[in-house]
């Protein structure tokens, strides 16, 4: 360090370099902690959940003993909720995104308010949507079903989850539409195509991978959320598989919740097995999204 005029300056430089190195190590440790948390979580679930991971889990209903108990009703309930939610939320969400990005491209006060509103809705706690569902969808579905006793059925749950995942679908679809170069739109319009023809044949095919990501995210939310469904009446004591939107239902996360809180270790392990099924569905959905995105990219 002879370049520096005084030993004090050289010492200061050394000190600054030490701080720099310590900082790098700290960052690395933080990242390591984050990854290890995931590893611990997965390991714990895997090791406890293997015990009851078998055909009983998807063929049987909850019983009084952990052995022989299953979550068949909840598995089907989750699949029902997911499908119905997508049925409502995808057309509405993608439609809204198309309106905001294609039909009404100019900046206006209306658009700004709608945009701010969507951003705020995405931050509303999920349980608030549950309360909206309890006050509106549950009585509405009861009237639809012609059975005043209860509207706490699949349909009320799916409508609630649709509103919950709507902001996410709109925002992701908007991003996907924004990413389509406007030269493509202009070219199509210049050749005499109408707006809708342009959207359907030019813009949407380009934006499909992005929109698909949004749909998968919405599906994941519909599968993983529990609290709003409890509020609108998902039940634990169900001993049949739902056959239609007006049936009562349970969902996998609710079964996890219920079994994890039992004092017996057997039921806690059963809960872990159910988590494996739940996360298996989530991970395969995301894998499908990734594969479809890669295929679409190869075609483009």
């Amino acid at each position: 360090m002879s370049r520096f005029s005084t030993p004090a300056a050289a010492a200061r430089i050394r000190q600054r370099k030490t701080v720099d190195r310590v900082f790098v190590v700290l960052m690395g440790i933080a990242a390591f902690i984050a990854v290890s948390l995931l590893v611990i979580l997965l390991y714990r679930i895997g090791s406890s959940g293997m015990r009851y991971l078998g055909p009983d889990l998807i063929n049987e209903f909850p019983g009084r003993r952990a052995t022989g108990s299953g979550a068949r009703h909840a598995l089907f309930g989750t699949l029902w909720i997911m499908s119905l939610t997508l049925l409502f939320t995808v057309p509405i969400g993608v439609g809204a995104a198309i309106y905001l990005e294609e039909f009404n491209r100019r900046d206006s006060w209306f658009k700004r308010i709608i945009q701010l509103n969507i951003a705020n809705l995405s931050g509303v706690p999920s349980i608030i949507y549950g309360m909206l569902g309890l006050a509106i969808f549950v009585p509405f579905v009861a009237v639809l079903a012609g059975d005043a006793r209860s509207g706490k059925t699949l349909l009320a749950g799916a409508l609630t989850m649709s509103l919950l995942s709507l902001p996410l679908v709109i925002m992701v679809a908007q991003e996907a539409l924004k990413a389509v170069p406007s030269s493509l739109r202009d070219g199509s319009l210049a050749l005499g195509a109408t707006r809708w023809q342009t959207i359907r044949r030019v813009v949407l095919p380009q934006a499909t991978p992005g929109i698909l990501t949004g749909i998968i995210l919405a599906a994941s939310r519909a599968i993983g959320e529990t609290a709003p469904l409890i509020v609108v009446g998902a039940a634990v004591m169900v001993n049949s598989v739902p056959t239609g939107p007006f049936d009562s239902y349970g969902v996998l996360p609710l079964q996890v919740f219920n079994w994890a809180q039992r004092p017996q270790q057997d039921f806690k392990d059963l809960s872990a097995s159910t988590i494996i099924v739940l996360m298996g569905i989530l991970i395969s959905l995301n894998a499908i999204a990734i594969i479809m995105r890669m295929r679409a990219q190869r075609r483009a």
Binding site: A31, G95, I127, M131, L163, F257, A260
Partner: protein, 312 residues
């Protein structure tokens, strides 16, 4: 006079074209109207939430004064005691405790990913964080019950079986990916020339981050903190499972407690009679929760807009 009868192939083609154009215009209008109505659904959702919460908590506030609700120190709806402070204190402890984990750790991971991580390490850490963010919250509840609390009992033998500390820890883990990914975005959006200039002037990398990058990305970073806090306030399943359902005005993390969200979900499960005092109480607590998170989210939006204005 009768309408002109098409008498040549050319006329027929012209009329067909005209009616096809008419159809197209109809389709255009139909689609535009349809997508416009879809847009309105989001507006009606907000209106619906506000109206439902206000209308249904009104009967509650006719029986319990706002002052009593907001300052009462006991929460026993069955005994006619409706002071929300025990619920607020539990929510506050969970939120603060989780922020102690998610904010420093999330910020450090965000800086690490944006500034230091080599590609190979990034390819491990990023998907791990995404997976952590995608884990359903009941799974974190399970984790709190079966891993965190038993672990804590080794350190604090007097800890309650259901306790606020375990809830705070799992909510901290849950919100960590939110903080780290938003911080990473904020830091990456700072133009490279700023820290590069600092390094060229002799600053170490750490100094360029501390004195240049972080101040430049500050509004985005702060927004991520606020969003994490807002998520923690609204979290339900993990805290209900970890901290329990005992309304408890406490500042001790080792005690059990009941958050606002836990009260709502516990009371509204099963057959909650419509129009009873419990029904309206749920909505009064929901209204409080809604205003708290709305305030936090608007604040975060303000910060986000600030940093967008500067760099893009």
């Amino acid at each position: 006079m009768a309408a002109p009868i098409p008498n040549s192939a050319g006329d027929r083609a012209a009329i067909m074209l005209r009616s096809k154009r008419g159809n197209q215009r109809l389709i255009e209008q139909f689609i535009q109207g349809g997508t416009f109505s879809a847009t309105l659904v989001s507006a009606f959702t907000t209106i619906g939430i506000v109206v439902v919460l206000l209308l249904n908590s009104l009967p509650f506030f006719q029986q319990v004064s706002v002052g009593e609700f907001l300052t009462g120190r006991e929460w026993q709806p069955a005994g006619g005691k409706f002071g929300i402070l025990p619920l607020v204190s539990s929510t506050l402890l969970i939120t603060l405790g989780s922020a102690f984990i998610s904010i420093p750790l999330g910020l450090m991971v965000g800086i690490f990913l944006a500034e230091y991580a080599p590609r190979k390490v990034r390819n491990v850490v990023k998907p791990a964080l995404e997976l952590l963010a995608g884990v359903p919250t009941v799974v974190y509840g399970y984790f709190a019950l079966t891993v965190v609390t038993p672990f804590l009992r080794g350190i604090f033998p007097t800890i309650a079986p259901l306790n606020l500390l375990a809830g705070a820890i799992v909510v901290g883990i849950m919100t960590l990916p939110l903080v780290s990914s938003l911080c990473e975005d904020a830091i990456s959006s700072v133009p490279r020339s700023l820290p590069d200039g600092a390094v060229a002037m002799g600053a170490t990398k750490f100094e360029s981050i501390k004195d240049v990058v972080i101040p430049a990305a500050l509004s985005g970073i702060v927004a991520s903190f606020i969003l994490a806090i807002s998520r923690a306030v609204g979290e339900v399943m993990a805290v209900a499972m970890a901290a329990g359902l005992m309304p408890n005005l406490t500042a001790n993390f080792l005690d059990g407690g009941m958050t606002m969200t836990a009260y709502i979900v516990n009371t509204s499960k099963g057959d909650l009679p419509r129009g009873g005092i419990d029904y309206f109480t749920v909505f009064a607590v929901g209204l409080t929760l809604f205003f708290i998170t709305l305030g936090l989210n608007l604040l975060a939006n303000k910060f986000v807009r600030k940093y967008r204005q500067v760099y893009s």
